[in-house]
Symmetry: C2
């Protein structure tokens, strides 16, 4: 793709913003991992971890604000971005992850850590071997913490449902005037002013919903982090980011295999995550 | 894109299937229009129209069956296809249109036709001019027909909501084991066998939901057509197809403007709708 001819397109700016965010997430992963290791050797150093958790959540908010600024009248790109694989787009909800999936991450972490600790305990009993006891402390969430998280889960699902319903109405409205009536009247219709205005308005509406969903995502993250200890919060954020980056990569690999070659949406100036492989190529 | 190297990919087959369907829809538009004009000059010839309406609905069912066969373990492509614009993908529900939007098409047609007839009536009164009185008979839907359509609408929305909820659960499940736990454990993870299996299973689940949604789409179409006279049904199908084709084209034009150039997903052997413009080009 000739980036000089396309660098001014709004979608290029959106894509750039996304890759900056992915690049920042890669840094967050490194920082969170380091901070968790440091905390293990210096058990009282919770303050630094707390600060980092705050920075990570704030950065998510900044990203949401930045992409909201770029969504004006071209928000639909965020609902199924060309820079994502179909797998990832199939998982999107209002241009991002479901806030309720944050809570599923916690439950999954709890379960897997309990399982690991149990098998390590058995191993210790059988073989009197030294095993790693520091693998995660999410399983140490108290009953009180779990009850609070469950409360957040229920409220989040309710709010998600409300936004989903608004979106359904918006989708239905497209079959209404003036878009529909213009389409019904002729066979292949040029994009006239009235249709353009209606589609702009539709995309503006999508932007409002995405902002509402982003607000719910951030609000949910903050509530979870408040309930947790700094170590638990750092583990949770690290897990969420690893899941996001992995799904992005796995989806890309599966898609390449299906296409037989890479699709064309090379990142003009954007920073890929992990490796050069993350950037799709125009050539097959 | 070198089509020889990619023609065996499953997504190419899916894309080919889609463009065949779009090409068939273009033919349906021509046939429905001709049949409606013929019916005007020979008012009793309802039989041919009825037959055509049946063919159009059956063809939609055949398309749904064909794409379902191609969806095995790679269904996510249908949830945000690369051959659609973001605008169109933002309007998708389970890989297609919302069945409830069929009913919105009817209501919009009723409204616009009533408006046209009213303004024509006023024009006639004022200027004693001969105006076209044959512009649509959707406004002649009886109260009984409208009540039945309203009943279908309510049931369809209920069924849509159920499918939407199943999809939400499926999306949340991805944050669970084994996908999530694999992702949590390392930084950038190779797609291992257990993850591949889990993602295949996830896509199979999406395929089941899409088939369920397609069943609802076809069922809704059949119910609507049963309630209507053949002329009304033909008008309704014509309007729906024009809306689909127009949105595909409008979305493409808007996206091209945003990108500054066309995205690369040229159709290998697929038939575009309307004109060469419908086929996206690899070159900028």
């Amino acid at each position: 793709m000739d980036s000089s001819s396309s660098s001014h397109g709004i979608e290029q700016l959106q894509q750039g913003c996304y890759y900056e965010w992915m690049s920042l997430q890669a840094k967050h992963i490194v920082n969170l991992k380091e901070a968790l290791i440091n905390q293990q050797s210096n058990n009282d150093d919770h303050h630094k971890l707390e600060e980092l958790v705050g920075v990570v959540v704030d950065d998510f908010q900044k990203y949401a604000e930045k992409r909201s600024e770029l969504s004006d009248r071209s928000c639909s790109s965020y609902f199924a971005p060309s820079w994502n694989s179909s797998l990832e787009n199939g998982l999107l909800w209002m241009g991002g992850c479901r806030p309720s999936s944050f809570i599923r991450v916690i439950y999954a972490l709890c379960g897997s850590q309990t399982e690991t600790q149990y098998s390590q305990y058995l191993q210790k009993m059988d073989e009197s071997e030294k095993v790693d006891e520091s693998a995660g402390i999410m399983s140490e969430l108290t009953a009180m913490q779990l009850a609070k998280i469950n409360e957040v889960h229920i409220k989040v699902i309710e709010k998600e449902d409300k936004i989903t319903k608004k979106y359904a109405h918006m989708q239905e409205d497209v079959a209404d005037m003036p878009i529909a009536v213009t389409a019904y009247s002729r066979d292949l219709v040029e994009v006239g002013v009235s249709v353009e205005d209606a589609l702009d308005k539709h995309e503006e509406g999508m932007g409002v919903l995405m902002a509402e969903a982003d607000k719910l995502r951030i609000e949910t993250l903050r509530k979870i982090v408040e309930i947790m200890t700094p170590v638990q919060a750092a583990e949770f954020l690290l897990a969420g980011k690893r899941l996001h980056v992995s799904l992005h990569e796995w989806g890309r690999v599966r898609e390449e295999r299906r296409f037989g070659c890479a699709r064309a949406d090379a990142v003009a100036g954007g920073a890929g995550v992990g490796s050069e492989k993350s950037k799709r190529s125009t050539t097959c």
